[in-house]
């Protein structure tokens, strides 16, 4: 009920803003702060998700957990919008502008897809504090970049895969062949080779850009994983968002193992059926990044620029849920220590 009223209010404010803008003949920037927080009012936070949105069991959900936690602790007024498949840059841009104009003084763009549009939008709304997850491509005085050292976490699950593999063949399935996902692949391969230099890593990307369905197509994931399992691979690392579900399904059917990504996928309710084949997960704590960001804004300590969440920060990690890596935990933690103290430099690019 309150949410509904909020929406109407926002719409009214929007219409008013539009009228003013039309009268003044000025551009639609500038008056965004009019709905901003007064004393004691709730912080208004807008989220622009990437394709899949809340409920993707992966990346977006991780961001959602962060916002949920922040809401519980600080009591926020939240508006969540979601990207559509194949939408244009202008629509992404419009989404961020609508949030800014709707009085949301804190706007989080979840996913590097928003980099270009945010770069255009942010200068027009200097009163709004933006966060961009997963990308350093947009910078500005009111932009905080939340990025993760995915290669480090991937390195650790690569080590786990190498230690657990009996066939010395492991697989990597990437959702879409983008530089970001290549970071996962490079780290994973380095981890595998660290332990077993002769082990084979089979690599497969589900789709090529601009086809981004690879992040959200379990059927494709299942097919690709089946191919790998048939070729003798016994553990597959699925860095493929929602498509990972298919990888786990294939693993379950063939009695093999999979490695999850972004969230601790063993504990996700949506994956309860296949959780017994999840060896571990490369946890990317987007929730922590999001929570930290909101918390900093709340405390009036907004910091622009890049913040890297790496192993040292606890921004990435491997998951122990399910207990399948308990026996090699010592080795994994040893590698973790080496990475943190710089003994091992994990490559991030091919």
């Amino acid at each position: 009920m309150r949410r509904m009223r909020g929406t109407r209010l926002a719409a009214a404010a929007l219409a008013l803003g539009l009228g003013l803008a039309a009268c003044g003949g000025s551009s639609d920037s500038g008056d965004a702060g009019s709905g901003s927080t007064g004393d004691g009012a709730q912080l208004k936070v807008g989220l622009a998700y990437d394709i899949g949105g809340r409920g993707d069991q992966s990346f977006n959900d991780s961001a959602a957990r962060g916002i949920d936690r922040a809401k519980q602790e600080f009591g926020l007024d939240i508006k969540e919008l979601e990207a559509g498949a194949g939408e244009s840059e202008a629509i992404k841009e419009d989404r961020l502008r609508q949030l800014a104009e709707g009085g949301y003084t804190t706007v989080i763009a979840v996913g590097y897809a928003y980099a270009t549009s945010l770069a255009k939008v942010a200068p027009d709304y200097t009163d709004v504090q933006f966060a961009l997850v997963d990308s350093e491509d947009a910078t500005g005085d009111n932009i905080a970049n939340i990025v993760f050292a995915e290669e480090q976490g991937s390195f650790l699950v690569g080590v786990a895969a190498a230690l657990k593999s009996t066939t010395d063949k492991v697989g990597f399935i990437g959702g879409v062949n983008t530089p970001l996902i290549q970071k996962f692949e490079v780290g994973f391969t380095a981890g595998v080779k660290q332990v077993k230099p002769d082990a084979e890593v089979q690599v497969k990307y589900l789709t090529e850009p601009p086809d981004f369905t690879g992040f959200n197509d379990p059927a494709k994931g299942e097919t690709a994983a089946n191919g790998m399992f048939d070729a003798g691979v016994d553990i597959v690392y699925a860095a493929a968002g929602g498509s990972g579900n298919g990888v786990f399904k294939a693993a379950k059917a063939k009695g093999k193992l999979g490695i999850g990504v972004d969230s601790d996928q063993y504990n996700l309710p949506g994956l309860a059926e296949v959780k017994d084949v999840i060896l571990t997960s490369m946890i990317k704590k987007v929730d922590v990044g999001v929570y930290d960001f909101i918390s900093s804004v709340k405390d009036g300590e907004f910091a622009k620029g890049v913040k890297v969440y790496d192993l040292e920060q606890g921004g990435v990690d491997y998951a122990t849920s399910g207990g399948k890596v308990d026996d090699i935990k010592a080795q994994l933690d040893d590698f973790k220590k080496q990475i943190v103290d710089g003994t091992i430099k994990v490559p991030a690019q091919k």
């Binding site: 929406t7 539009l18 841009e93 270009t116 983008t178 090529e208 601009p210």
Partner: protein, 382 residues
């Protein structure tokens, strides 16, 4: 072109308007079933459309949809289904972006640079469509199959070429990868619109020119006549001396050339580079817009604007708490119902025309009044 007749215009409008009304009804049912208010939805959409930025964005989307629709329509008029507009424009946009962004181009005058970019895009589009045309003409392979396959190949070709070792630019630390940005001289400036943060694409005029050329070629030239005749009856075309193979080849090349233009308004007007986030899928939207606009140059323009408005109002719906997917449902229902509506209207038109010919010639008559000297021998059977 047929003589202007109010009824013909009414009949022409009946199908799309009817389909639109039907689509709104279906969406109302869907909204009611999911517990959303129809009026809030319409309110949100209308409000969105009135916002200058959304309107400009819609026109910008429509510019590209329109070009794609014309590319599709050229094939449709020949009963050729160029499903490959999507791959054609992406490949063309990528390669022409690489050309336009190249360092050596920077010394050239702006007009020459832009012209070269446009010509290159058309050539690439035509070449890619030409592959399907050649396969059809020489081997009889359905253009539907081959263009679908070529779409997939184009995707992989683009991602192969979009690599720092090839046509893309090295961008350390970035999650995106793209061609070298086109510098100012190679860009086409937008038209500022008061109250909007986005400019109207300068190449909206290119789309209008292409639309005019489409109309002119089809209705005024021999080539257009032969193209339409081939589409309506291949056997009659052959008997009247039209080389169907030549027409297939030419119309596919033309379709591909126009398809090559689809990405340019975005490329030269906004993105200035071809990168991973370059909008895909416009070719398929073009199919829907061509169907909705009935291959008519003005019809497709209206359809493209409608489509753009729907796409760009999705955010406003999301903000108003209405699932954005309602837009997709609406678009799907519109296309589906418009196809049915056109067929109904076509049948109605054929029937009324036959009736009118009959009436004008008096073949329907009271046999009692039928004198033997009446020299009218219209056939009476239907």
């Amino acid at each position: 072109m047929r003589r202007f007749a109010p009824r013909a215009v009414l009949l022409g409008l009946a199908a799309p308007v009817g389909a639109l009304v039907f689509a709104v009804l279906v969406c109302a049912v869907v909204l009611a079933a999911t517990g959303h208010s129809l009026f809030d939805t319409i309110d949100a959409m209308v409000t969105a459309a009135q916002r200058p930025r959304t309107f400009v964005n819609s026109l910008n989307s429509a510019t590209q949809y329109y070009l794609a629709a014309i590319a599709v329509a050229i094939g449709f008029r020949m009963k050729l289904f160029n499903i490959g507009v999507d791959g054609q424009y992406r490949l063309a946009a990528m390669l022409s972006a690489a050309l336009a962004g190249a360092t050596w181009m920077e010394g050239l005058p702006s007009v020459l640079r832009i012209t070269m970019t446009i010509v290159a895009a058309m050539l690439v589009g035509a070449a890619w469509a030409g592959v399907a045309a050649l396969l059809k003409v020489t081997r009889g392979i359905s253009e539907v199959i081959s263009t679908i396959m070529l779409n997939a190949i184009a995707t992989y070709l683009v991602s192969y070429l979009l690599n720092p070792a090839r046509l893309a630019e090295e961008r350390p630390g970035s999650n995106n990868i793209g061609t070298r940005p086109i510098t100012e001289g190679g860009q086409v400036g937008g038209i500022p619109v008061s109250g909007s943060s986005s400019d109207l694409f300068g190449l909206v005029f290119l789309a209008a020119a292409v639309g005019f050329a489409y109309w002119f070629v089809l209705s005024r030239t021999r080539f257009g006549f032969e193209l339409k005749a081939t589409g309506l009856s291949e056997s009659a075309a052959v008997a009247s001396g039209i080389s169907v193979k030549k027409m297939v080849l030419l119309s596919m090349l033309l379709s591909g050339a126009v398809a090559g233009l689809v990405g340019l308004p975005q490329l030269l007007g906004s993105s200035h580079e071809y990168s991973l986030d370059f909008p895909p899928g416009i070719g398929f939207i073009g199919i829907a817009v061509a169907l909705l606009g009935r291959n008519h140059p003005i019809g497709m323009a209206l359809a493209a604007v409608l489509w753009g408005l729907l796409d760009n109002s999705a955010n406003a719906l999301d903000l108003a708490g209405v699932p954005r997917e309602i837009v997709g449902i609406m678009q799907g229902v519109i296309v589906l119902s418009v196809v049915i509506a056109y067929e109904l209207v076509r049948r109605y038109r054929v029937r009324t025309e036959q009736r009118e010919v009959g009436k004008a010639l008096g073949s329907t008559r009271d046999p009692a009044a039928d004198g033997p000297k009446d020299d009218n021998r219209e056939e009476a059977s239907a």
